[in-house]
C-alpha cells in the first residue's frame, strides 16, 4: 500500500515546524514516530499534502529531572522511556504502562508526544498522564503554553492543541506509588481497558483509557475511595461507554469496574 503523494519537510527547529503548520493548516501533518500516522496514510484514512518530520529537532528527546518533576521531551521514544532508570525510580507507573505498549519495534520508533497528540482513545499514556496530573508543554505561533492533562483530551483523536501547535514535552510529577493495569485487545495490544491509579496518602487519582471515546479521570471513584476496592463500582459513573465488536458497552463497563478494583487493591 502506498500513501497519496505528499511533500516531505524535515524541520530543524520548533519554530520552523510551527510556521509550516500555520502556513498549511489542515493540509499538513506532523510526523513524529509515525507508527500511527504512516499506516493511516497508507489506508488513506489521512492524506496530508505536507508531512513535517520533527525528529531532527534538537532538544526534544531528552529525559530530565528537576526537583519534584521529570520532564520528558516529546520526541522521546517509548524505548527510551522504558530504559530510563530515572523514570523507573521516580514515575514507576509510567514505566509500567510503557512495558505494555505496542511491541519492541513500535516502541523503538513511536514517541510520547506523537501518541498524546494522536489521542487514540485506547492508547496507554492518556490514563497515566491523567492519574499523574501531568502537564503537557506545547508551542505554537502565539508562543508556549502548558495544558493540564485533565484539559488535554477532548474527544476521539481530538485534543486541546490549536492547529498551529505541537507538543514539545510532558512534565510528570514524581509519583511514589502507582499502578497501571491493562486488559489487552489481543491482536493490536491496545487497551480495551487501561487503568492508572496514583496513591497519595489516603487519596487516589484514577485515569481510565479505552472505555470512553475520551480518556477520563474517574472522579466518582476518587470521591468514594475509602482505602479499599469498593469505590470501583463508580468507574463508569456519568461516562458514555464505547461499544465495538471486541467489547460491547455492558462488557466494557463491567471490565472497567473489575480492573479499577484490582488496581485499587494493589
Amino acid at each position: 500500500m502506498i500513501p497519496a503523494k505528499f511533500d516531505y519537510i524535515k524541520a530543524t527547529s520548533i519554530s520552523e515546524a510551527v510556521n509550516l503548520l500555520d502556513e498549511h493548516g489542515f493540509d499538513a501533518k506532523i510526523l513524529s514516530g509515525g507508527q500511527s500516522l504512516l499506516p493511516a496514510m497508507k489506508l488513506r484514512l489521512n492524506r496530508p499534502e505536507i508531512v513535517i518530520d520533527i525528529n531532527g529537532i534538537p532538544g526534544m528527546n531528552s529525559i530530565e529531572e528537576t526537583g519534584d518533576e521529570v520532564i520528558i521531551g516529546a520526541n522521546c521514544t517509548h524505548t527510551q522511556i522504558l530504559n530510563s532508570d530515572m523514570v523507573y525510580k521516580t514515575v514507576n507507573i509510567l514505566h509500567q504502562a510503557v512495558t505494555t505498549l505496542g511491541d519492541v519495534q513500535v516502541r523503538n520508533r513511536g514517541t510520547i508526544g506523537g501518541s498524546l497528540a494522536h489521542a487514540d482513545p485506547s492508547a496507554d499514556y492518556p490514563a497515566v498522564v491523567l492519574a499523574c496530573n501531568a502537564q503537557i508543554e506545547v508551542e505554537g505561533k502565539g508562543g508556549k503554553r502548558t495544558i493540564a492533562a485533565t484539559d488535554f483530551f477532548q474527544g476521539i483523536f481530538t485534543t486541546a492543541l490549536e492547529d498551529d501547535e505541537i507538543v514539545t514535552a510532558v512534565r510528570f510529577p514524581k509519583v511514589a506509588h502507582g499502578k497501571y493495569l491493562k486488559f489487552y485487545q489481543s491482536a493490536s495490544r491496545f487497551a480495551i481497558v487501561g487503568v492508572a491509579v496514583v496513591f497519595d496518602d489516603s487519596k487516589v487519582k484514577v485515569g481510565i483509557t479505552g472505555v470512553s471515546d475520551t480518556p477520563y479521570r474517574a472522579t466518582a471513584v476518587e470521591e468514594a475511595y475509602t482505602g479499599n476496592g469498593d469505590a470501583a463500582e463508580h468507574a463508569v459513573d456519568g461516562i458514555e461507554v464505547m461499544s465495538d465488536h471486541f467489547a460491547d458497552e455492558n462488557y466494557r463497563s463491567h471490565l472497567a469496574k473489575v480492573m479499577v478494583k484490582r488496581a485499587l487493591e494493589e
Binding site: 503523494k5 516531505y8 510526523l31 504512516l38 496514510m41 519492541v104 519495534q105 491482536a187
Partner: protein
C-alpha cells in the same frame, strides 16, 4: 529527494519519492527481497530490520527518514558465508516452517538478545509480541532464540 543510506555496510544514494517506505526501498531499489512485507501496517513484523542498531518495522518508516542511517537487513546477518548464530539456531531448532516470517523473527531476535543477553523465556515471548508466525511455530522460535543466546555467550 536524494537520500544516502548505508545498508549492510554499503552506502547507497538514490533519488526517491517521499512516500516510498523503507521496506519498498530495500526490496525494489536495492533488490534485497529478504525483507518481507506482510500486513504493511506495522502489525505483523515480517519487515523487521535494524536501523542504527534498533529493530524497526521498515514498512512504517519512510525511506527519506532513513537518510544518513545504518540499516542491517537479513542479508547482512551472515558473515563470510557463515550463518549468524541466530540463523544457525533457527536451522538447528526448526525455528521455521514456511519461512515467510523468519527474516523478521531473526532481526527482532537480534534486538531481544542485545537488550537481554541471557533472556528468560518470558523475555523472549514478550520481545516477539510484534511478530506473527502464521504457521504458529512459536515454540521452536523461542527455543531457537534460547539456543542463539547460549551460542553467542559461549
Amino acid at each position: 529527494m536524494n537520500v544516502t543510506i548505508t545498508v549492510n555496510g554499503k552506502q547507497f544514494t538514490h533519488d526517491i519519492e517521499p512516500r516510498l517506505s523503507l521496506a519498498q526501498y530495500l526490496r525494489e531499489n536495492l533488490d534485497l527481497t529478504g525483507t518481507h512485507i506482510g500486513c504493511d501496517t506495522s502489525g505483523c513484523g515480517a519487515c523487521t530490520i535494524t536501523m542504527d542498531g534498533n529493530a524497526v518495522k521498515s514498512c512504517t518508516v519512510l525511506a527519506v527518514q532513513a537518510d544518513g542511517s545504518e540499516i542491517t537487513t537479513i542479508e547482512g546477518m551472515a558473515q563470510n558465508g557463515e550463518m549468524h548464530p541466530i540463523q544457525a539456531a533457527f536451522k538447528e531448532k526448526h525455528g521455521l516452517q514456511c519461512g515467510f516470517c523468519t527474516p523478521g523473527m531473526v532481526m527482532v531476535a537480534a534486538d531481544i538478545l542485545k537488550n537481554y543477553p541471557n533472556p528468560s523465556e518470558e523475555d523472549i515471548r514478550h520481545g516477539l509480541k510484534g511478530n506473527f508466525c502464521r504457521c504458529t511455530g512459536y515454540h521452536n522460535i523461542v527455543k531457537s532464540i534460547q539456543l542463539a543466546a547460549e551460542t553467542i555467550n559461549d
